[in-house]
């Protein structure tokens, strides 16, 4: 196996991991503030649809991205209203959002475009194009001739859409916000002991809404990435369970930003590896079932949850609506 093949797998890893990473960080904000969010999948789907639709209508991918974020924020608002203001069950609200998005996207897409629940194909400025860094090679034959450093630079570092670089920058930003700012401290406290935060005279409801809002923005970017960067348009159910894998990654990452990067990259790598059964067979000299690789993220999460490797402790007030007085 040559370096270029490994790089191609890693390149694929980054593309597959980016939506997981964004959704995972979104869940991180929400769950750190004590709001479980099983509706990541639905929000991503709604954002994917709206970004695809608006990008097609306006011809601008940036307007599409904004529309996607707006759609995802609207669903976040519903989740917030149900679980923060009305103190409903967060899991039920999340499941409802998933169903709502799954049905609504197809119905609206059908009534707008009449193409059976998909948006028309995007082209040109309506899509995020890969950014070719200066000096990077794009032709695969030239790349095969180039030295290892040039290969790494051209294949792995260059040639992604801007969303990928933004997603990677959001990781340190998340760490900084959560662990180095006053807002972050309060946000984490609200997920551990909301009564203490309330006693200090800080609004629990306000903080939780802020967290759910950030979650909406990040899932919005994740959904837009699926529809306008990886694909050229929305197709029904195109998230294909990525929101749930992101939740698994969040548990795997023990609700920490840098671990979230590692967990999503690992899951992305497993998915990318599953695309190349020939390489696995050549390296290990026996056939590995592709299905096993697809299931590994879930298996790993169960192992972590069972406490075999370290311990995943969720925020203590997670899933509990905050009641000020009884």
């Amino acid at each position: 196996m040559d370096l270029l093949t490994i790089l191609q797998i890693l390149d694929s890893t980054i593309r597959l991991a980016t939506p997981l990473l964004l959704a995972c960080l979104a869940g991180l904000f929400s769950e750190r503030a004590g709001i479980f969010d099983i509706g990541l999948e639905g929000k991503m789907l709604a954002a994917a649809f709206l970004s695809g639709a608006i990008a097609f209508v306006t011809g601008s991918v940036w307007l599409g991205l904004l529309a996607g974020i707006a759609g995802s924020l609207a669903l976040s608002g519903i989740h917030g209203l149900a679980s923060i203001t009305f103190r409903g069950n967060q899991l039920i609200s999340g499941v409802a959002i998933n169903f709502l998005a799954s049905g609504l996207t197809v119905v609206v897409a059908q009534s707008w475009f009449g193409q059976g629940g998909r948006t028309p194909q995007l082209a040109g400025a309506a899509r995020f194009e890969p950014i070719i860094w200066p000096g990077a090679l794009t032709n695969i034959r030239e790349m095969q001739q180039a030295g290892p450093l040039q290969q790494i630079y051209s294949e792995l570092i260059s040639g992604h859409t801007i969303v990928v670089y933004i997603a990677l920058l959001i990781v340190p930003l998340t760490w900084w916000v959560l662990f180095r700012t006053r807002f972050g401290l309060r946000l984490r406290a609200v997920g551990e002991n909301p009564a203490a935060v309330d006693t200090a005279g800080i609004s629990v409801v306000g903080l939780r809404y802020a967290a759910v809002g950030i979650c909406g923005v990040l899932t919005g970017i994740a959904g837009a990435y699926l529809a306008t960067a990886l694909q050229a348009g929305f197709t029904r159910e195109m998230t294909a369970g990525r929101g749930y894998i992101a939740l698994a990654a969040l548990i795997f990452a023990k609700w920490r930003p840098w671990y979230a990067l590692m967990a999503t990259m690992l899951f992305g790598f497993l998915q990318a590896l599953a695309l190349r059964p020939d390489i696995i067979e050549r390296t290990l000299s026996f056939r590995v079932q592709v299905q096993l690789l697809d299931a590994l993220p879930y298996i790993l999460t169960v192992i972590i949850l069972a406490g075999f490797v370290g311990k995943a402790i969720p925020p203590r007030a997670g899933g509990e609506p905050y009641v000020k007085e009884r």
Partner: protein
């Protein structure tokens, strides 16, 4: 009083429509949805063609989950629709249960065989159509490596892949065929992102023609193939127009003809197994203005020759579903 009147009027109108519905055909679309640009859309096209030509009406439903199958068939039979047409092998078990309960209704199932006196089972020789596009793929490929991307890993999809690989190998014995499946759950029909990544992976292994038999996932395959400047092959209905000049051809499965025939025959539609293959126009390759420049005269001649060979039996395309093995490619 006026309200009561209009209410009664509405009820009467409903009763009339219900009466008119008698002996109208009904179509059940499978989970992919009516406009999947593929299998279901093809059956919708057939139904629409019938409706346009005869001015008739038909009832329809788009299934949302597996649990609805039996219920949908029963409701149409109960309401007096005849024949009840369903596209998709997944309806097999449901129809096996329901068909004996409605002996006066004729059912048409496409892509599966149900043994009952009142059922017409339409099956396609997909392996023959896939063989034809395999011939074209082998001739269009410059690298000698071609790809196949299936949707859900089921015998039917392997049948596509196997026929395709045989067509490739018969045309160019030195060729390499890379075959991948998207997944093992129904989600594999709707995962264009994974379809894209599989295409990228096949391109990095040298493939320059990719055949997608993967429902909605195929949209991602065709998109990535067009983005990366290689050729792709569509499936079921004509997908050449999706990326003009970059889709080599489409393997046509004339589900529309099957639906149209059944609707035209009406309640007296002949039951039993009907096989639609190369010989009776059931499968074929799509050539239109979008891919005319890609199909050279030489390639067209090769396809015609292969079609003639399949018809007269001199070319025997292996059917994966007959013995669950494939001599041409390993999945």
């Amino acid at each position: 009083m006026t309200f009561m009147k209009s209410l009664l009027g509405a009820t009467a109108a409903l009763a009339v429509t219900a009466g008119a519905a008698l002996a109208d055909p009904a179509v059940i679309f499978d989970l992919g949805g009516k406009f999947d640009k593929s299998f279901n859309e093809s059956s919708w096209n057939g139904a629409e063609r019938w409706a346009e030509e005869t001015g008739g009406t038909y009832a329809e439903v788009e299934l949302q989950s597996d649990a609805q199958r039996e219920q949908a068939i029963r409701r149409f039979a109960e309401a007096g629709y005849n024949p009840v047409i369903m596209a998709g092998f997944s309806n097999q078990t449901a129809l096996e249960t329901v068909a004996p309960d409605y002996p006066d209704t004729t059912f048409v199932i496409i892509d599966a065989v149900v043994e009952a006196p009142n059922v017409r089972s339409v099956v396609f020789d997909e392996h023959e159509g896939s063989y034809l596009v395999g011939v074209l793929a082998a001739m269009a490929s410059e690298s000698g490596t071609v790809g196949f991307i299936g949707g859900m890993d089921i015998p039917l999809i392997r049948k596509f892949g196997c026929g395709y690989a045989q067509g490739v190998m018969d045309t160019n014995p030195d060729a390499t065929v890379i075959a991948n499946m998207t997944g093992t759950t129904p989600a594999a029909w709707n995962d264009p992102v994974k379809g894209s990544e599989l295409t990228q992976a096949q391109i990095s292994q040298g493939a320059d023609v990719v055949f997608a038999a993967a429902g909605g996932t195929g949209v991602g395959v065709l998109q990535t193939a067009a983005d990366q400047g290689i050729l792709s092959i569509g499936v079921d209905s004509n997908q050449n127009y999706l990326h003009p000049g970059q889709v080599l051809t489409s393997m046509l499965k004339r589900v529309d003809n099957a639906v149209y025939d059944a609707m035209s025959a009406g309640p007296e539609v002949e039951t039993g197994v009907q096989v639609m293959g190369v010989a009776n126009g059931g499968v074929g390759v799509a050539v239109d203005e979008n891919n005319a420049d890609l199909i050279t005269a030489e390639m067209q001649a090769a396809v015609d020759e292969a079609m003639a060979g399949i018809e007269d039996g001199s070319i025997e395309v292996h059917d994966y579903m007959s013995d669950e093995t494939c001599p041409a490619v390993q999945f």
